[in-house]
Symmetry: C2
């Protein structure tokens, strides 16, 4: 019975990593669609989002089922953290859909200028997410802790881009629609980094049994805009 439980716990973790890989893929594709102005790719991101949603539901069900049989409090903690991570991943998937949707709007007009900050933000957010999930798999709270301060850098890039786009709009009102779409994309990327930070904080909590959220030290979970 106990062995069966352990096996199911392993399956829960595996499903979470499958979900993570779909989510990372969605963000990557959404960015690719934006940069290549590829409408078909953008539409595929939106369609794939249902797979991520389904995985979240499956993980929730597995987790609830396992909770009823968890023998140790450490297992309970792992299961609840898995549910939280899954929820954050689902939200990352939603942000990928938002980016894809806005890319479709952007591709209807000429490109404003080469995108520099946006791919950088995307890369940073994806790295943070990957590192948080690696820390989860490797039971490494130190690695997870290193993710948290990076959230501020992504916040700073979002604010910088927001300022640049605001000035641009004032100078050339014909660019307003495109600037607004880019602002939404930038905000989505900033939120992806927020979710990655949540994942990292949950991993720290899981393995250090210490709640470092909302202490202000991490600089995360504060609403940015």
């Amino acid at each position: 019975m106990q062995r069966h439980f352990e096996q199911e716990l392993g399956e829960l973790k595996e499903k979470l990593l499958t979900m993570a890989s779909h989510t990372e893929g969605a963000v990557t594709l959404a960015l690719k669609a934006l940069l290549a102005r590829d409408d078909e790719l953008a539409r595929s991101v939106k369609e794939n989002d249902t797979i991520i949603d389904e995985l979240e539901k499956e993980i929730d069900e597995m987790a609830i089922n396992l909770l009823t049989r968890a023998p140790l409090s450490n297992d309970l903690r792992l299961i609840t953290v898995a549910m939280k991570i899954s929820h954050d991943l689902e939200r990352v998937g939603d942000e990928a859909t938002t980016i894809a949707r806005r890319s479709l709007e952007l591709s209807q007009e000429p490109q404003l200028k080469p995108y520099v900050v946006i791919p950088r933000m995307a890369q940073m957010g994806l790295e943070m997410l990957k590192q948080g999930l690696d820390a989860f798999v490797q039971r490494d709270p130190t690695r997870a802790r290193a993710v948290i301060p990076r959230d501020k850098d992504v916040d700073a890039l979002n604010k910088q881009l927001h300022r640049e786009l605001s000035s641009y709009m004032i100078e050339k009102p014909t660019t307003i629609t495109r600037c607004l779409n880019l602002m939404v994309i930038s905000k989505s990327l900033e939120r992806i980094a927020d979710h990655a930070t949540n994942v990292a904080e949950d991993v720290v909590y899981l393995y250090e049994a210490l709640d470092i959220r909302h202490t202000g030290k991490s600089g995360s979970r504060r609403p940015d805009q």
Copy 2:
């Protein structure tokens, strides 16, 4: 022992309602600060957010502690739903802080025009939240279910306002900064309604033991922008 458990479960529910009342209060105050252009009030919303964050942590700890001792699978479901609701409330608190922050920026310039759609969106979101929480207390999934379709109405108002503000910006580029702040506030209100919808869906799930999220029927959890 069992009686003690029941008592603690009751305390968990009570703490959740305390948190809900703080959260609703924060949104109400943020709106008041916006409409009255009251900077002091806006700053108080930001400060009070730490209370909401603390309550979320306390609820998480109580929940984890209770999970280890939950005798029935219905209790487990209740506890995990309480954690989810608490997380949504914390996010609503963050949105209130965002509204307060943007109100501070808006009060530095003359008011663009009388606010009509924004107070309406706020009222709708707060009503949805209140109804979802009432349904939780009264164990009434039908009441919770009624919340879900209203999310579309708030989405529609956000889109309408977004369009209006976009046109306004194009006509009068000097209003761009104010329009952007109002767009962020409108989006925050739309997100509050999203969180209220999540709460309602969780209550339906809790009492109907049926996962209606992501089915597309509800029209919620879809990223709007």
